[in-house]
C-alpha cells in the first residue's frame, strides 16, 4: 500500500515491488525509521544490499498493535551514513553487521566491533569494553564451554562477585549461510534453512518456505499450513520443557531436571512421529509439507501428547512451590519492561518483561489467521518470569494442539509454488519458540535472490542477557543464560 514518506506497507507474508519502493538518502531513511520506532515501532531487520553503485540500506519495521509492517530503502551509499543506533539502541547490532558485511560506516555508532569475524577479513584486534579500577577484575569464558553447548565468548567486568558489565562475543559458529544465498535458491538452500538453528528447524523452514510462496504468488495448501502450525507448537513444547528442566538443573533441583530431560525427548519423538526426524527436518518444503498426518497417526499423536504434557505439568509444577527454587529464580537477572522495549527484545524474553509481543497474535499468517493461541505474558523480567512464561506456553500450546487435532482441514499437502516473481521484496515472520524469526528476500530481474536476510530471535535478545547480568553475582550467569537459552548458530549464521 502507498503511504507518504520512504515506507511502503505490507502485512506478514506479503510482498512489495522492489523497484517500486521509493529511494531516499541514508540520512532520511535513518530519520524516518527513528520516527517510526519512536512511535512504538520495532526494528525487525536493518541491513545492507550491495549494488554496483554502492550499498542500499533496507529497513523492516513492525507496528505490532496495528498488524502492520513497513519496508523502506535508501539510495546506494558509498562510504558512510549517519547511524541509527544513537537514536534507537535496538539498531546497534544491525549496524555493526552492516559495517562488517559491506564496509559502510554508520557514523556515530559508539561500538563498531565485528559481529562474526568473517574469515579472510582484515584481522581486527578484539577489544573489549573495560571497566578500570584497582578493585575490578576481568573474567573470560569460552569459546569452548563446560558441557555440551555451542561456543561463544563471554567477558565479564567484575567488582568482587558483582558483574558490572558483560560483553558477549560470538561468531564462532559462522557458516556463511547468508553469503551463499544471492543467486539462489540453490539446491542446498532448504536444508541450510533447516540447520540455521537446529532447535528452531521448523520456525526457520516455515519462514523460508512462506517467503518463497509469497514470491511465487501462491500460498501453500491449507492442510499444509495446519501441519506447519502443529509442528511449530511441538517444537515449542520440546524446547520449553527442556528449558524448564535445565533451569531446575542449574539451581540443583533435580527431580524436575531428571523428569523434563526425558519428557523433552518424548516431545521430539512426537515430531519424529510426524516426519521421521526429531527436529522436523524434511517436513516443510516450499509449497507445503512432505508428510501428512493421517487419522490413526493423529490419534496416536494426541494420546502421546496428552501423556507427555501431563508429565511435564506434574514435574514442572514442583518448581513453583519449592522454596529453594523460588529463592534462586525470584528477582534474579531482571530486564525491565522499558529496557526490553528499548532493545527490541522478542519472544519469551520480551513477554517475561511484561510486553505483549507474539507474531502469532500480532502478525498472524498461515494457519494462525484461522486459529489463535492466546499471548502469554508475565511481568517481572527475572528468571522466574521467563520460566513462568514457558510453563504457561506449554499449557497453551498443548490446548491448541488438541483443539487442532480434533478438526483437521482436508485437502492436499503440497503444491509446488510457481517460480519467484522478479523484482520483489517479501517478508515472513514466524513465532519460533525463542521468538520472532524474520526472513526477508529480495529478487532481481531474473527472479533469483538479490539478497536474503535472516534474523534469528537471538540476534535481538543476546544484549538482553548482557543487561540482565548487570549488578548480578557472576555465579548467577549460568542460570541467567539458561533462562534466555539463546542460539549461537542462529546468531552466527
Amino acid at each position: 500500500m502507498s503511504r507518504p514518506g520512504p515506507f511502503r506497507e505490507l502485512s506478514n507474508g506479503g510482498g512489495v515491488s522492489w523497484t517500486g519502493l521509493p529511494e531516499c538518502s541514508g540520512g532520511t531513511l535513518v530519520a524516518s525509521t527513528a520516527d517510526e520506532l519512536a512511535r512504538g515501532g520495532r526494528l525487525c531487520a536493518w541491513f545492507g544490499l550491495p549494488e554496483r553503485a554502492g550499498v542500499r540500506l533496507v529497513a523492516v519495521v513492525a507496528h505490532d498493535a496495528e498488524n502492520l509492517l513497513l519496508v523502506g530503502r535508501s539510495e546506494p551509499i558509498q562510504e558512510s551514513y549517519p547511524a541509527l543506533t544513537p537514536l534507537q539502541p535496538q539498531a546497534h547490532l544491525f549496524e555493526r553487521e552492516i559495517r562488517e558485511q559491506h564496509g559502510i560506516v554508520p557514523a556515530g555508532h559508539p561500538w563498531l566491533k565485528p559481529v562474526r569475524r568473517e574469515p579472510g577479513s582484515e584481522p581486527e584486534p578484539l577489544r573489549f569494553f573495560r571497566v578500570e579500577g584497582t578493585e575490578v577484575h576481568e573474567v573470560a569464558v569460552g569459546p569452548v564451554h563446560a558441557g555440551i553447548i555451542e561456543p561463544g565468548h563471554f567477558r565479564f567486568q567484575c567488582a568482587g562477585e558483582e558483574v558490572l558489565h558483560l560483553e558477549i562475543a560470538l561468531g564462532y559458529q559462522h557458516r556463511g549461510i547468508e553469503a551463499a544465498l544471492p543467486g539462489g535458491p540453490h539446491r542446498a538452500t532448504m536444508i541450510q534453512m533447516e540447520t540455521i538453528a537446529g532447535d528452531s528447524t521448523l520456525a526457520h523452514a516455515t519462514a523460508h518456505a512462506s517467503v518463497l510462496e509469497t514470491l511465487g504468488g501462491e500460498e501453500a495448501p491449507l492442510r499444509a499450513q495446519w501441519l506447519r502450525a502443529l509442528a511449530l507448537e511441538l517444537e515449542r513444547l520440546a524446547n520449553h520443557t527442556g528449558d524448564l528442566g535445565a533451569l531446575s538443573g542449574d539451581v540443583a533441583y533435580l527431580p524436575t531436571a531428571a523428569a523434563c530431560g526425558k519428557l523433552r525427548g518424548d516431545f521430539l519423538n512426537l515430531t519424529a512421529l510426524l516426519c521421521g526426524n526429531r527436529f522436523g527436518r524434511g517436513l516443510v518444503r516450499p509449497g507445503g509439507c512432505l508428510h501428512d498426518l493421517e487419522p490413526e497417526r493423529a490419534a496416536r499423536l494426541g494420546d502421546e501428547l496428552r501423556r507427555a504434557v501431563a508429565g511435564t505439568l506434574e514435574a514442572a509444577g514442583w518448581l513453583w512451590e519449592s522454596l529453594s527454587v523460588r529463592a534462586r529464580f525470584d528477582g534474579v537477572g531482571v530486564v525491565s519492561s522499558e529496557r526490553a522495549q528499548e532493545l527490541g527484545l522478542v519472544g519469551v524474553a520480551a513477554r517475561a518483561s511484561g510486553i505483549v509481543r507474539d507474531v502469532r497474535y500480532d502478525h498472524p499468517a498461515g494457519w494462525h489467521r484461522f486459529a489463535q493461541v492466546p499471548v502469554t505474558m508475565w511481568p517481572g523480567g527475572d528468571v522466574f518470569s521467563r520460566a513462568r512464561v514457558r510453563w504457561l506456553e506449554v499449557q497453551r500450546s498443548a490446548a491448541f494442539l488438541q483443539e487442532q487435532l480434533a478438526e483437521p482441514p482436508d485437502g492436499p499437502i503440497l503444491a509446488a509454488p510457481p517460480a519467484p516473481s522478479p523484482d520483489t521484496l517479501a517478508v515472513s515472520l514466524v513465532e519460533g519458540w525463542r521468538g520472532e524469526v524474520c526472513h526477508v528476500a529480495i529478487t532481481g530481474a531474473d527472479g533469483r535472490f538479490l539478497g536474503y536476510k535472516i534474523v534469528d530471535p537471538s540476534f535481538h535478545n543476546w544484549t538482553g542477557l548482557a543487561l540482565a547480568m548487570r549488578g548480578q553475582a557472576i555465579s548467577d550467569f549460568p542460570l541467567c543464560n539458561k533462562s534466555f537459552n539463546l542460539s549461537y548458530c542462529g546468531f552466527d549464521l
Partner: protein, 266 residues
C-alpha cells in the same frame, strides 16, 4: 504440593531407563527409515535421476555407464533420492546401526558394498584403557545444535549413558577423547586444535553428524573446513542429520566393544 510429591512420583515411576542393550533397541520412528542401501546393480542404464535432487551432492556417478555411488557421510537423510529412484536402487535399510571406523566405509553402491561397513571395536590396548571408563569432551565447531541435543539426550534418565562408564567432562584435560559436531568453522578451528592438543594421549576422536563428517549442508562454503578430519584424525564416524540418539549410542558402545553379540555383528 507436598514435599513428598517428587519422591512419590519417583517411586511410582520406577526405573525409566530403557532395557537396551540387554533388551531390544527402542524402535526408530516409522518414517525415519534408518540407513540407506544402494544397490548399484539395479541402476537403470543412463538414469541419473537421483543426482540433481541430492542437496549435498552426496551422490555421484564415477563412470557414465557404471552404478551410482552414495556417500552416507555427506548424506542428510532427506529422502529425496529414495523418492526419485525409479528402479528402487536406493532404499531404506531400517537399520539404526551406522557408525564406521574408516571414511571410505560410508561409500555405498558398488557390488559387495551396498551397505555401510560397520565399525570394529578399538584395538585391545585402547579397549583395556577406555572400555569401562570413557571420558569425552564435546566440541561444537559450527554444529546447529541438532547433533549436540541428541548427544545430550544420552545423559537423560531414559538412556543413562553413565551406566556404561561414558561421561562428558568439562575439561579436555580430564578427557580421553573428543566428540566433535559441526563442519569446523574457520572461527572454531583454532579452538578445536587447542582442545585436541590438551587431551592427553592416547585419545580418540568421534565425528557425529553429516557436518562433522563431510561439511553437511555447508559443504564447500569458504567459512567451513568440510568436516573434523580436515583438522584432527578421526576414529569413528556417526552419520545422520542429526543421528538418532540410538545411532550415537550404538557407535559409542561399538567402539568400546560393549555391544552384545546380537548387535555387534559387522
Amino acid at each position: 504440593m507436598s514435599v513428598l510429591d517428587p519422591i512419590l512420583h519417583r517411586l511410582r515411576s520406577g526405573c525409566q531407563t530403557m532395557p537396551y542393550p540387554e533388551g531390544p533397541p527402542p524402535p526408530l520412528p516409522d518414517r525415519h527409515g534408518g540407513a540407506l542401501r544402494v544397490d548399484g546393480a539395479k541402476c537403470a542404464a543412463g538414469c541419473s535421476d537421483c543426482l540433481p535432487v541430492c542437496p549435498t551432492e552426496a551422490i555421484r556417478r564415477p563412470s557414465p555407464d557404471g552404478p551410482v555411488s552414495l556417500d552416507l557421510g555427506r548424506c542428510v537423510f532427506c529422502d529425496a533420492c529414495v523418492q526419485a529412484c525409479p528402479p528402487k536402487a536406493i532404499t531404506h535399510s531400517g537399520e539404526h546401526r551406522m557408525a564406521v571406523r574408516r571414511r571410505e566405509d560410508l561409500i555405498l553402491g558398488e557390488p559387495g558394498r551396498e551397505e555401510l561397513r560397520l565399525a570394529a571395536a578399538l584395538e585391545t590396548k585402547l579397549r583395556t584403557l577406555f572400555g569401562r571408563s570413557l571420558r569425552l569432551r564435546q566440541v561444537s565447531a559450527g554444529g546447529c545444535n541438532g547433533c549436540e541435543a541428541d548427544t545430550n539426550v544420552l545423559g537423560t534418565i531414559g538412556w543413562d549413558l553413565g551406566r556404561f562408564g561414558i561421561q562428558f567432562v568439562a575439561s579436555p584435560r580430564h578427557a580421553d577423547g573428543l566428540l566433535i559436531t559441526g563442519p569446523v568453522t574457520a572461527n572454531m578451528r583454532l579452538a578445536l586444535e587447542k582442545t585436541y592438543a590438551a587431551v592427553p594421549d592416547p585419545k580418540v576422536v568421534i565425528a557425529v553428524g553429516a557436518c562433522a563428517i563431510a561439511g553437511g549442508p555447508f559443504v564447500g562454503h569458504p567459512q567451513v573446513a568440510n568436516g573434523a578430519d580436515a583438522v584432527v584424525p578421526v576414529d569413528l564416524y556417526i552419520p545422520g542429520c542429526p543421528p538418532h540418539p540410538l545411532t550415537i549410542l550404538d557407535g559409542l558402545l561399538r567402539l568400546l566393544g560393549r555391544l552384545p553379540a546380537r548387535d555387534a555383528a559387522i
